[in-house]
């Protein structure tokens, strides 16, 4: 599953509205509560565990992808 698909699943947004620049500023559903849900779903989808620093740094789809790549995740 591509990272964008995890976002559309969690936030219920249109896949066409999600790209690398999508962030908590552009997506109303991506609030602090949504961020925790996204974290839980990313970790269970890709079988990884993010550090607190990584979690805080995931402030856009591009940043999510960077964090996944740092864990050698392929999609």
């Amino acid at each position: 599953m591509i990272p964008e698909a995890v976002l559309t699943r969690v936030f219920g947004c249109d896949p066409n509205d999600v790209n690398d620049t999508t962030s908590p500023d552009t997506l109303a559903e991506w609030d602090s509560l949504g961020h925790i849900t996204l974290l839980i779903e990313l970790e269970s989808t890709y079988g990884v565990s993010f550090s607190p620093e990584e979690t805080l740094a995931m402030n856009s789809v591009a940043a999510v992808k960077r964090a996944l790549q740092a864990h050698d995740v392929q999609w």
């Binding site: 995890v6 699943r9 969690v10 219920g12 509560l33 949504g34 925790i36 269970s44 607190p52 979690t55």
Partner: protein, 756 residues
């Protein structure tokens, strides 16, 4: 593997051809035709679907080339999926293609491929596309992706009822945190299609926002529409204590209090002496019990308190479990004291969240989420906890069922009973057979909650009854069933007659049958009955019924505990009626005794229950709750009389009450209620006679009665007329009756009075 490589080798070399010609339609067509003659068309087309998705999709749409026939449904679906995902051309074109594909392959596509096709169509469908989607959706009622697509479409069409149902189904199909949060947010975003019917407050010392979507979903599954209040961060105490707090203004129907011992005693992360542990525990206990007591002063809603659980083990490692400072033993002691303190408060309950520090299991929080988001509950525990919440919510909403109606063959025992085949059924101490014994033990225990059992089975009655009476491993015997229907009639018909015999509504019945056809028929013909889906494995029967929210009760009175016995004696009475000539003689033969007294704290719960539940013999149907009853006991202007009765077959319990407003000139009967179990014995006459004699003795001139007509209280409509009252006023449903007390009402001759 080797063979597969060989097949691929035989396929035409696509890459060089495409490199030369581009992804041209004619080339693609040529390649496809060519590949169908080779041994591995799938390999060619799979490659083609990635490299030339448009051509590939158009070919699949083309009615002239019956290419689809060369593929299995699975391969065709994979092909379409790959092509749609590789497509990077004009979205309008993809939509046109998807429209054709949806209509042509609605009966063959896999769920995954259908999801991609529907995704390409978007949310606005024409009628033909709608029909195609309908037929796809019918084949995959539990496919999360398709359900999400259906939700989008229903949202666009503004079909609220359908949307509601789809969201609940999606939650059942996909219970991951992301999806459940999505469903909850979706519901909050839209205007509620109907007003909330249960107001749930969750007050907590930590973040519970992740739990609420699961509780919402669990309520929707029971067709409840909840409204939630979540206490603001760090204000759980103030919410209970402060006047005008958010919690108070919310007017909750039920409150859940989730306080973490780790929040109350941060020192638990360190090594502590036994004295330090005990002191921390005592402080925590006091804080929780204090807010519970404060809550009781301003709300009648039930309060459900989480048991304490901790994320931290003691300092001694494996030695900790047996040590005097063992955290597990300390928590167990603390929770036992919490339970005891809560028991002393009305309508306060302890919810065991299964939390111990035991390394062997229990509820451990997720350390990362604790630090990051103040979550004290691990995400994987949330669905189970939400189900536990609902088991308290159901009785609060009065949705508890009254009778479990059971099939026999393969439900209460294994196999099918036939003539003289009693010893061949599976029932005993070894498996297969022990599963059924365990299930029967649970069913028998339901009588402790006041829930009845009945039989509704298609068997030869003699064979079945012989097994029930004489099989040595049977737990449930004939007397455990309050109604028995063993015959060849349709089961829904039996169901109605069981409800009539027990004098309860069909909607109070649960139907348990291993046969899916019987269940389907019951759902079709009597949707009000709760039909339980039994799993195939009888070992799981017990846990399915144990988990059923509709079998939960919050207050168990002595009447509840003996209800099974009461219904059994009712059967004996009915039989006596048939053998004794004349109603008067029959009533005398029952040897009815009553005891009448003023209500007290000891029977307040039962009194509140009568106010809440009685619909038939209830003259004004005023619903007073526990708190009101408490006030009546203190009120010098009111008298609350209660009547208990018995006859030669057994005790009925506390079955009638009268609430009277006392004045110097007249007494007014505000409420007069009698349980429908004892209708027809003239017991109401005894209570009314007692009232008139008491009023007469007090020197009062008149006794005033009121009757407010409802859909259900016809059995009580002639109460006052039968006892010499005169109708003095009637406005709409409200009738006033008056009795002059020169001569009080005589006691019914067939009823004897016991000292209370």
């Amino acid at each position: 593997m080797v063979q597969k490589t060989g097949e691929t080798m035989q396929a035409p070399p696509i890459r060089p051809i495409l490199d030369t010609h581009g992804s041209d339609f004619e080339v693609a067509k040529m390649l496809l035709r060519e590949s169908l003659r080779t041994a591995a068309p799938q390999a060619t087309i799979a490659a083609l679907s990635i490299m030339a998705p448009t051509a590939c999709l158009e070919l699949l749409c083309d009615p002239v080339h019956a290419i689809a026939a060369a593929f299995s449904n699975a391969d065709l679906s994979t092909l379409i999926q790959t092509a749609i995902r590789s497509f990077d051309g004009d979205p309008a074109k993809l939509r046109r293609i998807a429209s054709v594909l949806a209509k042509r392959y609605s009966e063959t596509l896999t769920g995954e491929a259908a999801q991609d096709v529907i995704g390409a169509l978007g949310a606005e469908l024409d009628p033909a596309e709608d029909a195609a989607f309908e037929s796809i959706a019918r084949r995959f009622p539990h496919h999360p992706g398709l359900l999400r697509a259906a939700i989008k479409i229903a949202d666009t069409q503004g079909d609220d009822a359908r949307l509601d149902e789809l969201l609940t189904r999606l939650g059942a199909a996909d219970g991951t945190p992301g999806t459940v949060a999505f469903i909850h947010r979706f519901r909050q975003r839209r205007q509620a299609p109907r007003p909330a019917d249960v107001r749930i407050a969750v007050v907590s010392s930590f973040t519970v926002n992740q739990l609420v979507p699961y509780v919402d979903l669990a309520c929707r599954k029971l067709n409840l529409s909840p409204d939630f209040y979540i206490s603001p961060f760090n204000s759980w105490t103030r919410d209970f204590v402060d006047e005008g707090s958010g919690l108070r203004r919310f007017l909750p129907d039920i409150v859940f209090l989730a306080v973490s011992i780790d929040d109350l005693a941060p020192q638990l992360t360190r090594s502590l002496t036994l004295e330090e542990l005990e002191a921390a525990g005592a402080t925590a206990l006091e804080r929780v019990v204090n807010v519970a007591a404060s809550f009781r002063t301003w709300s009648q809603a039930p309060l459900v308190v989480h048991s304490f659980h901790s994320a931290f083990v003691g300092p001694l490692g494996v030695l900790d479990d047996g040590a005097d400072v063992s955290r597990a033993a300390w928590l167990a002691r603390l929770n036992a004291r919490l339970a005891e303190s809560l028991r002393a408060l009305p309508l306060c309950y302890l919810l065991d969240v299964g939390g111990t520090t035991s390394r062997a299991g229990g509820l451990r929080d997720n350390a990362k989420l604790r630090h990051l988001a103040s979550m004290r509950l691990p995400p994987e525990a949330l669905p189970g906890l939400a189900d536990a919440y609902v088991r308290y919510i159901v009785p609060v909403k009065g949705l508890t069922k009254k009778c479990v109606v059971l099939d026999l063959d393969n439900t209460l025992w294994g196999g099918i009973i036939g003539e003289g085949s009693k010893d061949e059924i599976l029932l005993g101490h070894t498996s297969p057979g022990s599963e059924f014994v365990e299930f029967q033990e649970f069913l028998r225990s339901l009588s402790a909650r006041g829930i009845l059992l009945a039989l509704n089975s298609k068997n030869n009655p003699d064979d079945a009854l012989e097994a029930i009476r004489t099989h040595e491993a049977m737990v449930l015997r004939e007397t455990d069933f309050s109604a028995i229907r063993i015959n060849w009639k349709p089961k829904p018909e039996n169901m109605i007659s069981i409800a009539e015999e027990l004098n309860i509504g069909v909607e109070s019945l649960v139907f348990v049958d291993d046969n899916p056809d019987e269940r389907e028929q019951m759902r079709q013909l009597l949707p009000q009955v709760l039909t339980v889906d039994l799993p195939k494995d009888p070992a799981l029967y017990r846990s399915v019924l144990e988990g059923l929210p509709e079998l939960q009760t919050l207050a168990v009175t002595a009447e509840d505990r003996s209800r099974v016995e009461q219904y059994r004696t009712t059967r004996l009475r009915e039989q006596a009626k048939l053998t004794v000539g004349g109603v008067g003689e029959y009533l005398r033969s029952l040897e009815i005794h009553v005891a009448i007294e003023l209500a007290s704290k000891q029977n307040a719960v039962r009194v509140a229950q009568l106010f809440a539940r009685t619909n038939q013999f209830n003259v004004t149907t005023r619903r007073y709750d526990m708190a009101d009853v408490g006030r009546f006991l203190e009120d010098s202007q009111r008298r609350l009389f209660v009547l208990s009765s018995r006859d030669r077959f057994g005790a009925h319990g506390l079955v009638a009450l009268a609430l009277v407003r006392i004045g110097s000139i007249s007494w007014e009967i505000d409420s007069f209620i009698m349980s429908c179990r004892v209708i027809g014995y003239g017991i109401e006459g005894a209570l009314l006679a007692h009232l008139s004699q008491q009023a007469h003795a007090a020197g009062v001139r008149d006794l005033i009665g009121e009757f407010i007509e409802t859909k259900k209280n016809a059995p009580a409509n002639d109460l006052y007329a039968r006892h010499g009252f005169r109708e003095v006023d009637a406005r709409g449903e409200v009738h006033r009756w008056q009795l002059s007390l020169r001569t009080p009402i005589p006691f019914p001759a067939w009823i004897k009075v016991d000292a209370p």
